[in-house]
Symmetry: C2
């Protein structure tokens, strides 16, 4: 496809034009060393939206990700701004600055081409979701993810930002509205009405899907979460922090794919991650076999759910205490310095964030069972009846979590509730 004036120089890159582009771009060729002959170029985009290429030379490697002006897995019938790559690059750089250990480095960004070059997360890195399906234990996952979330959310909130910095950043990310709208539709709207895009394991879940559409209290709660998503500029959130946006080894945890980044409620990220861990839990019975009943693995997932939240809140509070003399304007030290009050304020903040996270987590679970985009955790269970049983349990848990989340004070209570869902 040739560049035209109308699309500002955009063209979909292919194998050959990619190589030409790399040759012409020192920031890229320098990553790959002097010998650019015999480059290996592999398209690996297993995601829903974009093209991702792994480029390996004899002395280096990188990943190129290109956004195209529609949703890849649906086609040109569902247009989607390729400017999402701009916000992805911006967020990768910002989150990378705040938490370099868990975010791949950005080497280069080309806005007209919507093209990001970043560090290649080499094997044995795999997508966390695939690791969870395979039953692999990641002993550092909770530590790493809580670190990533605590740092990226704290440092982009008014606990650290002045309101001057904050409103400037909020304004910038308002530009990522089309991606926000996609979330609004697929997470907060479509599952609660009849929509051409919705699907579920039919006929087994027909009644359950209908019950979601008929549940007034659920819909009232979802409306509150949707408003919070649309109106609350609490921090720069990743915006799509499911287990498919994390690449892992047993030692390393890397967060990719923040193309949905915007200033939104912190609980949206925390909930996305926790909710997807809970989905992984409920899918395990569908992956159990004679050799492995998955019960130990289920315990590890539950422990990880608990650890993610508990470590998150500990790290978040630590950052808050360490930065109490900084620019953050939400709780001025001069007003809140008395230790009892300082604690009171932090407890209130964390409690509200906990309930937000549970609410968003539940909403993210529901949409993965009766909405447009499902998760491999369940999709990879071949027997539909067995899959439906797993999904139904996850769905019932998510519904009650969404409605009753304010009853929970601690993550341990949530973990207990997960285990109490009847089989």
């Amino acid at each position: 496809m040739a560049a035209t004036a109308a699309d500002g120089g955009f063209r979909v890159l292919d194998r050959n034009s990619l190589i030409d582009y790399i040759r012409a771009t020192p920031a890229l060729s320098s990553q790959l060393g002097s010998k650019l002959e015999g480059l290996s170029v592999k398209e690996v985009g297993d995601g829903n939206l974009n093209y991702v290429y792994i480029i390996v030379s004899s002395s280096g490697s990188l990943v190129l990700k290109q956004a195209i002006p529609y949703i890849r897995c649906i086609g040109e019938s569902w247009p989607m701004t390729k400017e999402r790559a701009y916000f992805e690059a911006l967020a990768l750089k910002e989150h990378g600055r705040l938490c370099p250990t868990h975010v791949p480095e950005v080497y280069h960004f080309d806005r007209p081409l919507s093209l990001i070059a970043m560090r290649y997360l080499k094997p044995p890195h795999i997508i966390l979701r695939k690791g969870l399906i395979a039953g692999i234990v990641y002993p550092l996952l909770a530590e790493h993810m809580s670190e990533y979330m605590a740092r990226t959310l704290f440092f982009t909130s008014l606990l650290y930002h002045s309101t001057l910095e904050h409103r400037r950043e909020v304004a910038e990310y308002c530009g990522n509205v089309e991606l926000c709208r996609l979330t609004e539709q697929v997470v907060f709207s479509d599952p609660y009405k009849v929509s051409q895009y919705n699907h579920w394991t039919s006929p087994y879940l027909d009644h359950n899907a209908e019950a979601v559409r008929e549940d007034d209290i659920l819909k009232l709660e979802v409306a509150g979460l949707k408003s919070m998503f649309c109106e609350r500029t609490q921090a720069l959130v990743h915006g799509d922090l499911h287990t498919g946006s994390v690449m892992v080894t047993t030692e390393s945890t890397q967060v990719i794919d923040p193309e949905f980044a915007f200033y939104g409620p912190m609980g949206f990220d925390i909930g996305a991650f926790l909710g997807n861990l809970i989905l992984a839990f409920f899918s395990q019975d569908g992956h159990a076999d004679q050799g492995n009943d998955r019960s130990a693995y289920k315990q590890w997932i539950l422990k990880t759910i608990g650890d993610v939240w508990n470590l998150f809140q500990k790290k978040f509070i630590t950052l808050w205490n360490e930065n109490k003399d900084g620019n953050g304007e939400a709780y001025l030290k001069d007003i809140y310095k008395k230790p009892e009050l300082w604690n009171l304020v932090q407890e209130k903040y964390i409690k509200d964030l906990f309930h937000d996270s549970l609410g968003f987590g539940a909403a993210k679970m529901i949409r993965r069972i009766v909405g447009v985009a499902h998760v491999e955790d369940f999709e990879s269970i071949p027997d539909a009846r067995r899959r439906a049983t797993c999904e139904r349990r996850a769905l019932e848990f998510a519904k009650s979590l969404l409605k009753e989340r304010r009853r929970f004070d601690k993550i341990e209570q949530v973990v207990s509730a997960i285990q109490e869902i009847p089989t």
Copy 2:
């Protein structure tokens, strides 16, 4: 002051340069008719921030308002962007489009000069606050102000906007951050700590001011409101909707001075107006004299407080119902169409808005008694002891309202609570 390149052509206008400017600007001279000799030019800025000129010719009139790069009543030591005029003009035009009956028409805006030309609100229009001090009954005030608030808030919220429109507008008004910061400081921070700007009727209120600074629960609640102010982009709010921003006759109600406009919580406007009516109520005993004990007037104020809220919610819900087939994306008709659910959702929305309004209203009251900028309602009571008694009652009411607001379901309960404050 001559224009320089550095200030982009800005100069403070005086009498002569004003007249030259009018002559050179058709949008202005056309308002004033052909004969521009013998123009009357009167500076009337009684506000805290800007210069306001009334220009009258033999056949027409207008008002010119110029922002200067500092806070007028404090001086060059407190700089404040003159870009506030840009946001004032933008909001005047937007609110004027939505509610032309209650917003003066903008004739002209000059961004480099930070100069707004608008309709002159002729005598007998006076500032509402002065009318309330004088004990004048405005029989249409509640009707008009509820109309203004319902329309401006509804039509700039996600009940009417698509999220596309909404985020574009939010981003634009993020530019008015300096004015938001002024509010953050003087409303949500300074009153709760020792600040050089704070003052109160001393020595009578010394203990009361100290009690505000020592009240942990109050400060916890204020933190929640401040976060909402900084983070929640619910609608385009006026941002300074006290009784000094409203000009009235017994027939006409006009809202001026939206230089603090931004996307914030609706309750901030509603609360500002209600809170200032409550201040007016508590000041009445200080204005009572042998000829007029003000008791009938106090009843009228209380009735007006009730009517403002009740009419507001009625009009707001009517607009919502009338526009349910529109672009508003917060509550999609397909999801919420069942009448019981539609009602449930609206009741929840209004209840939350009520509590927000009471909270912000209380915060606005407190800051007018122990913060930097006081209100003429109290300041015009010459006897300090008598003034302090009025202020103390208002302050005690505001504190309990801020802390206990969620106990109130109806405005009538608030009105009763006002009357129960011991004298």
